[in-house]
């Protein structure tokens, strides 16, 4: 099921984040997308991810860093993390990073550059032109999460087309 196939309830929030790709067979069994520390998996075929916290408070917590984080748009993630750069040579380690769009709901703590959310799903993977150097192609990743593949420049259009809320524009 692609994003085109369902109508999104109004009010869900769009954000941009990055993931690390599964780099072992075991990790791949969970799904292609992992947190950068490889401690948290975005499970394949599980539509909505729920944030967890051992703190026992409502998620995301005010005095905690828990929740699913995202930046408001591709420009901010580029400013914060730098542009996504491929390995210099093919012999180097395969490219392990990917960026994309999430849709979030539940409790959300907005911030100046992004937000932390209680629930999120993968809505799109950004095309970056590095498929040949990466651990997985964008088609393989999108296949795990039943999502679209879009260019970062098309983020505004994507959000407008699907009626997803942009906290940076409010």
């Amino acid at each position: 099921m692609k994003t085109d196939d369902y109508i999104l309830p109004a009010g869900r929030v769009a954000g941009v984040r990055s993931w690390r790709l599964a780099n072992t067979l075991w990790a791949k069994l969970g799904g292609w997308l992992w947190s950068h520390a490889m401690t948290d998996c975005w499970r394949k075929n599980v539509e909505w991810k729920a944030a967890e916290c051992p703190g026992g408070h409502p998620i995301p917590g005010e005095g905690c860093s828990c929740g699913i984080w995202a930046f408001h748009n591709p420009h901010i993630i580029d400013e914060q993390f730098g542009p996504l750069l491929p390995p210099r040579t093919v012999e180097e380690e395969p490219f392990q990073h990917v960026r994309g769009v999430i849709i979030a709901d539940g409790n959300i703590i907005p911030a100046t550059l992004g937000f932390r959310a209680q629930y999120a799903k993968v809505a799109a993977i950004f095309e970056d032109g590095y498929d040949a150097l990466a651990l997985a192609t964008k088609e393989e990743i999108a296949g795990h999460y039943h999502c679209d593949i879009i260019a970062p420049e098309d983020y505004d259009t994507f959000c407008a087309k699907h009626g997803i809320r942009r906290l940076d524009l409010e």
Partner: protein, 51 residues
């Protein structure tokens, strides 16, 4: 840690998906994953062996 800037006031977007329903309905809560610890067996008393 990812820095997303200065926090603003919390908002809520009513979720209507499965993980949210599970979390709000205690009857559908998943069973505890950790098994109870087995009771410790009392140490056996050593039988006195006649010399």
């Amino acid at each position: 840690m990812v820095r997303i800037g200065k926090p603003k006031r919390r908002i809520h977007v009513e979720p209507d998906h499965e993980p949210a329903r599970r979390r709000s309905d205690p009857s559908e809560a998943p069973p505890p994953t950790r098994e109870p610890k087995p009771e410790r067996e009392a140490p056996r008393r050593r039988e006195k062996v006649p010399a």
